[in-house]
Symmetry: C2
DNA sequence: CCTTGACCTTCCAGCAACTAGAACCTTTAT
DNA sequence: ATAAAGGTTCTAGTTGCTGGAAGGTCAAGG
């Protein structure tokens, strides 16, 4: 399989796949003309990466998860711990965003949004 | 005021303040020794930036908001529109994160997290 | 056989918003 | 006099790609 086929199946852009090779996440073989040749195993890895990234795991987490995925002797607790840490991080981000959301919602409600200059949003942003 | 005093009052690290000068958000005067000298107006701007950034506005949004803040003839609708767009973006991000959160929570629940290798998390990540 | 177009390759640059660190200068206190 | 604590500039690194240029390869049509 050539890169654009793999891109279609895995859901990752060709550029991203090349980048993943650059940083050592996959090592596709090369044919005599220099083209990358992807085997079933490469495709599995890329699909795995695509899904892991979609769940928000960092590249370094993905690297670790991929190694565990390939390690038949892994302990599921290792995987679970990574997922748990990531989940905690997500919860933190959601909380941050919700706090912004609350503040902004309130400010927007109190702002007339007309052609006059008085603006509670700016007032809040400049409050000391 | 020197940079570290301004940093303390505004809540922004000195490095960030220098960076904001680099990209033209503030233009503090210089004293004869080359040190930046911050006036009340600079401080107001930096506080404004600190708070805007804390609400998640992009630097470019901050630039626009700052210009509106300084423009006595602004229309509050301009401010409101920027805030509204930003709020929509925040809502989108929260939705994305919550979707990840839901998936991960479920997966973590179903994973034993022991020393055995079978792991529903990896199973899910590698599902085609 | 030649050309065209769709592939593929590498490499370099840039995005956001800082941050770390090096090398150096100035001020302040002892 | 000197040492610590500030200030300065500069370069480069972070994360995870993405765009574009310059060029090689391959399959189909005239």
């Amino acid at each position: 399989m050539n890169i654009s086929d793999v891109a279609e199946v895995s859901g990752l852009p060709p550029k991203t796949i090349r980048y993943y090779e650059d940083i050592g996440l996959v090592r596709p073989a090369r044919s005599s003309n220099g083209y990358r040749v992807f085997q079933a195993n490469d495709l599995h890895k890329l699909t795995f990466l695509s899904r892991s990234r979609a769940l928000g795991f960092s590249i370094e987490d993905c690297r670790t998860l991929l190694a565990l995925y390939e390690d038949e002797g892994r302990a599921s607790s290792e995987v679970r711990e990574i997922a748990q840490r990531h989940l905690a991080e997500i919860a933190r981000k959601i909380a941050d965003l919700q706090s912004m959301q609350d503040t902004l919602t309130h400010l927007i409600k109190t702002c007339a949004g007309n052609d006059r200059p008085d603006c509670p949003i700016l007032d809040d942003l400049s409050r000391t």
